[in-house]
Amino acid sequence: MITVLLFAQLQESTGKEKIEVEASNISVLELKEKLKTIYKLPQIDHVMTAVNEEYAFPDDILFSGDVVALIPPVSGG
């Protein structure tokens, strides 16, 4: 099980703060493709990903227990 955290516009467009995905041993990119189809999130291509609070590369492999955060373009400050 992989936990996916959603923020900002992604949280609003899905109506969810958190999604649990039954998967392991898949890449960040594969996870994003999966979410894109299921939740109709075309903008996910422009979204960065953090795994366990660190920015991750598209090819990084995810395992059960990982916490993935989808990070749309940030606008703090």
């Binding site: 606008s75 703090g76 400050g77």
Partner: protein
């Protein structure tokens, strides 16, 4: 050090308290940057902003920025507090303080901090305009990741 140097809060930021954190006998210069809520942007009126953060990671990234600064500018001390939640006009969203023996480093490091915050810290702002609302970064006029996706990893040579 057991002072909290990097923080996300949902109450007004206490500036003097933050300055206190970086004050020390070796410092001759302390710079502060306050990002405040501006009423007008390109002819459009803001009523208030709503900030959201991925809090634990945001604190981690703020402290990474602090480390980057310590590596780039010798003998600097940095403290950053970002406020989240609803903020009205003129309220302070972010406060950055840097102390250093000499002023040049204090200015440069401070400006570096705000640039990096806008690149890597997972905080989002929703503008509530007089005539609508938008998550900033969602807008067409803002190119996502102006420095390329990888800039979030690069700790050096970013200026």
């Amino acid at each position: 050090m057991d002072k909290v140097m990097f923080n996300i809060v949902d109450e007004p930021i206490q500036i003097e308290e933050l300055i206190e954190k970086v004050t020390r006998r070796e410092a001759g210069a302390i710079t502060t940057f306050l990002g405040t809520v501006r009423e007008w942007t390109k002819g459009r009126r803001t009523l208030y902003l709503e900030y959201q953060a991925y809090k634990p990671m945001a604190v981690k990234m703020l402290s990474q920025i602090g480390k980057e600064i310590n590596e780039k500018w010798e003998n600097t001390e940095v403290a950053i507090t970002h406020r989240i939640g609803r903020l009205y006009i003129s309220e302070v969203a972010v406060a950055i303080v840097v102390s250093s023996p000499h002023r040049k480093a204090a200015y440069e490091a401070n400006e570096y901090a705000i640039e990096r915050i806008k690149e890597i810290v997972p905080i989002w702002k929703k503008e509530h305009w007089e005539d609508g609302e938008t998550w900033i970064g969602d807008q067409l006029e803002k190119v996502p990741y102006p420095h390329g996706e990888l800039s979030v990893f690069a700790k050096e040579d970013l200026e």
